[in-house]
Symmetry: C2
Subunit: 156 residues, 2 copies
DNA sequence: TATTGTTATACTCTATAACTATA
DNA sequence: TATAGTTATAGAGTATAACAATA
């Protein structure tokens, strides 16, 4: 009952340490850690739809929308109707958003450096590989119906 | 600019996958993933003070208090004044809380199984070790004043 | 019919600041 | 003076359900 709780505990601890370090480094720039992740997705792939964004961030469309509304207020992000699909909207960083992202990237560099200096180069690749194995197992397990909890709907 | 974003991304993805899987498994029991972590801390170490609990959960005392208020309403947790320190309170699971925790532990077993089956035994220990190296590096870095952002206070 | 996004709504977690009581 | 916890307050993220417009 103790051993198989260690991965969840260690994972939670590491994620929260990263999230808090990021939040507190960014607070004076008016951007949260999660908003930074959203901006990073847009910096990598320009002009995603909201649904694409949600899946990249492993988040919910209505959550993403709430975040976009906040980011639009700060003029960091712009939504435009999709050229090919009138239902959809494309989301992109504004020029100000791109500048802000560059700035935040630098501000956060010491956090990434700290993490990477704590690991050997081969440990970095191992850690990434193992984390991805964990994510994939959980995500694909979520697709099938659970064999432990057969029938009840997962409602709220 | 791409390589040193991979740990944060993989860490976030794995943590959120775990958190969501846990939340959705527990929703019909009226307990969140974070509340489960709190209960697990109390199941391991009976009768912690609120501050001890906050540090075990790497959380904030006022956050913990808000969670405790909710858990007390559900009669899962009980606070009593500390025998030796009249300022402090000890927090413990109620009998109902202990039963609920046992139940949730079983309900969540398939999630832990999924994660552990995705890894070799030696990978489990490696993953835990690497995650802890990351956590420790970030937590100890937070103590010293940053050399990148010399003076400004980290206020809100 | 299925999909994209919006709206309304509600709850949890998070965290600061000012405060009371105690050490 | 420092510490434990409370209170008030605020905001961010999360997610469901009902809905409109479009594919």
């Amino acid at each position: 009952m103790r051993i198989d709780h260690e991965i969840p505990i260690a994972l939670r601890r590491a994620y929260l340490a990263l999230h808090r370090a990021t939040d507190s480094a960014f607070v004076k720039y008016g951007v949260t850690a999660d908003q930074f992740v959203l901006m990073a997705s847009l910096a990598r792939d320009h002009a995603l739809t909201q649904r694409q964004l949600a899946s990249r961030m492993s988040s919910d469309p209505s959550t993403v929308r709430a975040m976009l509304v906040l980011l639009e207020k700060s003029n960091l992000v712009r939504r435009e109707s999709h050229p090919a699909d009138a239902r959809a909207k494309t989301v992109a960083l504004t020029p100000a958003g791109k500048r802000k992202f560059q700035q935040l990237w630098k501000v956060g560099q010491h956090i990434r450096d700290t993490m990477y200096e704590a690991l050997q180069p081969h440990e970095v690749t191992t850690l990434i590989r193992l984390l991805n194995q964990v994510s994939e197992s959980l995500n694909s397990a979520g697709d099938e119906s659970s064999d432990q909890l057969p029938s009840a709907p997962a409602r709220r």
